[in-house]
């Protein structure tokens, strides 16, 4: 395949909104190779044997056990999947990296945070931005688990506004060192790490700079006490104080003033991996919930037989399925984009960086959607357990608490919602994604007379696909008009941005779910995908409801009179079903299938 054809075939970041994706072009969990399946099995076995079997230890603030498990993960090679072979890693592709991150993270937020902080933001900044010497020196140790990394960005006064940090880096008189002074907080892995990625400001630079700082208490580094937290009890989280810490100039990461960019790019990767890290927790919580519902007798029958429980199980399964579909779809897009860039002669480092950056919109979408699915799933899982769910003796209680942080770290879900829309608008302005053309076309369509023909929806999922095409028009209509009205000021209208983001998110998730099911139905037959078809339909129905609500809210917020009336009419037209799915029946069907399996497994 020539580079040019590959280029055409791989959807660019954000383009899902304006281009129709064919089901054969999406990657699904069912497409994993035998080798990837084996990697998944090993990861699951590790999680079951070392983490799940000891989950209570994680609740008792057994920080040493988290560290021990991290070392064991290192021995199995689970920390080095994404690290290039040159630095003693396995050099596996992005999908494999996501796979390990997904299946290692389902048991406890304590371990998943330690794992994510180390392999993601603790190691990646060096593999992506480090010099050859820095990589040779640090990456092999981090890949094997001999050393652990931590990432020091947040400060008491610099959270979401990450570039506002006050930590200073001052060049020594002899020009050999930077002396770093400042206070960092919420530093995951601080208690046992050997190395910090630290962001500090040199003089009055506009942007912060990144440094690799070895952890040496004799070098002005002190740690605060372990933070008392709502969840992730055995993830070491401390403040880190730097007091005139000497850092050799050769430990500067990338160039002066590049820190904010490093921080943001590391977060792009962190976001999609966080989505992956929220998947297996959903599978496990749902599996525990359905097992419990199958066994728990009330009114002389297992509670799974009650519609109230079935509705919960069905929604949980549907969300997990959509999350899997969208996460692996985006992961493969990223992997292909990286391969393409490498084929074009870019270094792996550059290719990976740009490959992920290309899909920053999808990364933000996934982070928000999947972390919120996890929150809902743990909440409903706990509810299914009833009083027992509230007891710390069952894993539901800790799962519920652990889930909460996912909506906060790697950029809050509010920040990520605004980023998703903001980045898309910027891409459109730069001409990378043509939103204007399609938005104008939607405007014209609104002025025209709608077709009164009854469409033919006999083919599998054809109505759903048609509906998704129209949902995209809702976004184009709302966002297009909002951009026209506010221009660059749009980002100041946060409530509008959030509503637009919800529309965008639901489109991506629903489409991914439908495409995965269509692909699998085509190759394995419709019969084999009965439940998946039901889940795709249910997800879409819920997505449509959200889009109607958010669309209306957005339109009313900035349009008036005729314009408002026309857009509201458009919203109605674009969200209309010809044949409504019976969602009650769908939920029952899905719940019955999950109950019969007594676990969540759909690949």
């Amino acid at each position: 395949m020539s580079t040019e054809t590959m280029n055409k075939e791989i959807l660019r970041g954000g383009q899902f909104l304006v281009k129709e994706t064919q089901c054969e072009d999406v990657f699904t969990l069912e497409d994993l190779s035998e080798e990837q399946r084996m990697m998944r099995e090993s990861t699951k076995e590790f999680a079951d044997r070392e983490l799940w079997a000891h989950w209570e230890r994680f609740e008792k603030k057994d920080y040493a056990y988290t560290e021990e498990c991290m070392r064991k993960a290192g021995e199995l090679g689970l920390l080095s999947v994404a690290v290039p072979e040159k630095y003693e890693g396995l050099g596996m592709g992005f999908v494999s990296t996501m796979l390990v991150c997904d299946y290692i993270s389902g048991v406890t937020g304590s371990f998943s945070t330690a794992f994510g902080a180390h392999t993601g933001i603790g190691t990646m900044p060096i593999t992506l931005y480090g010099t050859e010497e820095q990589k040779q020196k640090y990456v092999p140790k981090l890949a094997s688990g001999e050393w652990f990394g931590a990432y020091c960005l947040t400060e008491p006064g610099a959270g979401s506004d990450a570039n506002s940090g006050k930590t200073k880096a001052v060049l020594s008189d002899d020009g050999k060192y930077y002396n770093i002074t400042g206070q960092k907080m919420w530093i995951s892995n601080a208690g046992f790490c050997n190395l910090f990625i630290v962001f500090a400001r040199i003089e009055d630079d506009k942007y912060i700079t990144g440094f690799i700082v070895e952890n040496d208490p004799k070098n002005g580094i002190t740690l605060g006490d372990e933070e008392k937290k709502l969840g992730i009890h055995s993830s070491s989280t401390r403040q880190v104080f730097f007091n005139d810490t000497e850092v050799p100039i050769e430990n500067m990461l990338s160039e002066r003033g590049n820190g904010f960019k490093i921080a943001m790019n590391a977060l792009n990767i962190g976001r999609i991996k966080l989505a992956a890290a929220c998947l297996d927790a959903q599978r496990r919580v749902l599996t525990e919930a359905v097992k419990y519902a199958n066994e728990r007798m009330q009114f002389r029958t297992p509670i799974i037989n009650f519609g109230a429980i079935k509705a919960k199980i069905a929604n949980m399964a549907t969300n997990a399925y959509a999350g899997e579909s969208a996460s692996y779809r985006a992961a493969k897009n990223i992997e292909d984009r990286i391969a393409l860039r490498e084929a074009d002669g870019n270094s792996h480092q550059d290719a990976e960086l740009k490959g992920v950056e290309e899909y920053a919109i999808e990364c933000s979408i996934l982070k928000v959607a999947v972390s919120e699915h996890l929150q809902e799933t743990t909440d409903e899982g706990l509810q299914i357990f009833g009083g027992m769910g509230f007891s710390a003796d069952t894993p539901m209680e800790s799962a519920w608490r652990d889930a909460r942080i996912s909506r906060i770290y790697e950029g809050t879900n509010e920040i990520n919602r605004m980023l998703a829309v903001g980045m898309l608008v910027k891409k459109a302005m730069k001409g990378h994604v043509d939103l204007l053309g399609p938005a104008t076309a939607v405007g014209e369509e609104l002025m025209g007379i709608p077709s009164f023909e009854t469409p033919d929806f006999s083919e599998l999922l054809s109505e759903e696909k048609d509906l998704i095409t129209r949902l995209k028009k809702v976004f184009l209509m709302v966002a297009g008009s909002a951009v026209q009205k506010f221009g660059p000021e749009l980002e100041k209208h946060q409530q509008l941005m959030l509503a637009a983001a919800d529309i965008l998110i639901e489109i991506y998730m629903a489409e991914s779910s439908v495409l995965r099911t269509e692909k699998n139905a085509r190759r394995s037959g419709e019969e084999s995908q009965k439940t998946q078809i039901a889940m795709s339909k249910l997800y879409l129905y819920n997505a449509v409801e959200t889009i109607i609500k958010k669309g209306k809210e957005a339109i009313i917020s900035f349009a008036e009179g005729d314009e408002q009336r026309m857009m509201l009419m458009g919203l109605k037209r674009f969200t209309k079903y010809t044949n409504y799915p019976n969602v009650t029946a769908l939920r029952t069907q899905i719940a019955d299938a999950v109950a019969e399996q007594n676990e969540y497994t759909f690949d």
Partner: protein
């Protein structure tokens, strides 16, 4: 020392068991297959001989292409080479004859097979194999040490243990105790990647007798409904135990 570990590809213990074709065939639909646990204990012990005494490990399985992921897992754990005998395994006699052919061609010193596979539980293969090869045999083996040709093996016997001395070549029927469950290995990522590069030979079966064939499978009758008797109605309970359950 050259070791051959015989591996059965069996359904995971949590699988739902169903039969098709008038209850004559096991329904593999949706079933996850794994290395037979008794074989995995043997493979793990073989890995010890590899690491401590420089043994070479080959693994063999009788089966169609669907058994290859299980063989690859054995390679990922650390076996050096795999052999797949390309036919459907039926009864123990048939499988043992196929394996005997591989042993004759491969000059193995030690052959470890699981005491039984956890799917059909025939428990015949290691015994028949030793007979066909006319070499020493130790079944239900829970401990194995080898120095040169001298073998010290521990067998589980009713209510105790028996220590035996014998020599190579030897067939061992392995089980838990050869190693403990906690010693079973999770294939590491590098092992998985290396497994792709290792040899997996496919050999055609030899003409062998199929001694028996499956005529019918039956599942245990499903559990009936539970009868709840109020705690103050002891007489009713005794009556039910006498006349309905007929247990007293």
């Amino acid at each position: 020392m050259k070791i051959l570990v015989c591996i059965s590809n069996v359904p995971d213990t949590t699988s739902k068991i169903n039969f098709t074709e008038d209850d004559t065939k096991f329904d593999t639909n949706g079933v996850q297959f794994v290395i037979n646990p008794n074989d995995e204990f043997g493979l793990t012990r073989a890995m010890w001989f590899k690491e401590k005494q420089g043994a070479t490990i080959h693994v063999v399985s009788v089966g169609e292409v669907s058994v290859e992921p299980t063989l690859r897992k054995a390679l990922a754990i650390g076996a050096d080479e795999a052999i797949r005998i390309n036919t459907i395994p039926t009864d123990g006699l048939f499988v043992a004859q196929q394996l005997a052919e591989v042993v004759k061609n491969g000059q193995y010193d030690l052959i470890i097979a699981g005491r039984e596979s956890i799917d059909y539980n025939g428990g015949m293969v290691p015994g028949i194999l030793a007979t066909l090869l006319d070499i020493n045999f130790i079944n239900t083996c829970i401990g194995l040490e080898i120095e040169g040709d001298a073998v010290t093996a521990i067998r589980e016997i009713d209510g105790g243990k028996e220590t035996l001395a014998t020599t190579l070549p030897l067939v061992v029927g392995g089980q838990k105790g050869l190693v403990e469950e906690s010693e079973l290995r999770i294939p590491n990522m590098r092992g998985i990647m290396m497994a792709r590069k290792k040899v997996l030979n496919v050999v055609e079966p030899t003409d062998s007798i199929r001694g028996t064939e499956d005529a019918k499978f039956e599942k245990p009758a499903p559990k009936g409904a539970v009868k709840l008797v109020d705690s103050d109605k002891i007489e009713e309970l005794i009556d039910l135990l006498h006349n309905e359950a007929k247990v007293i």
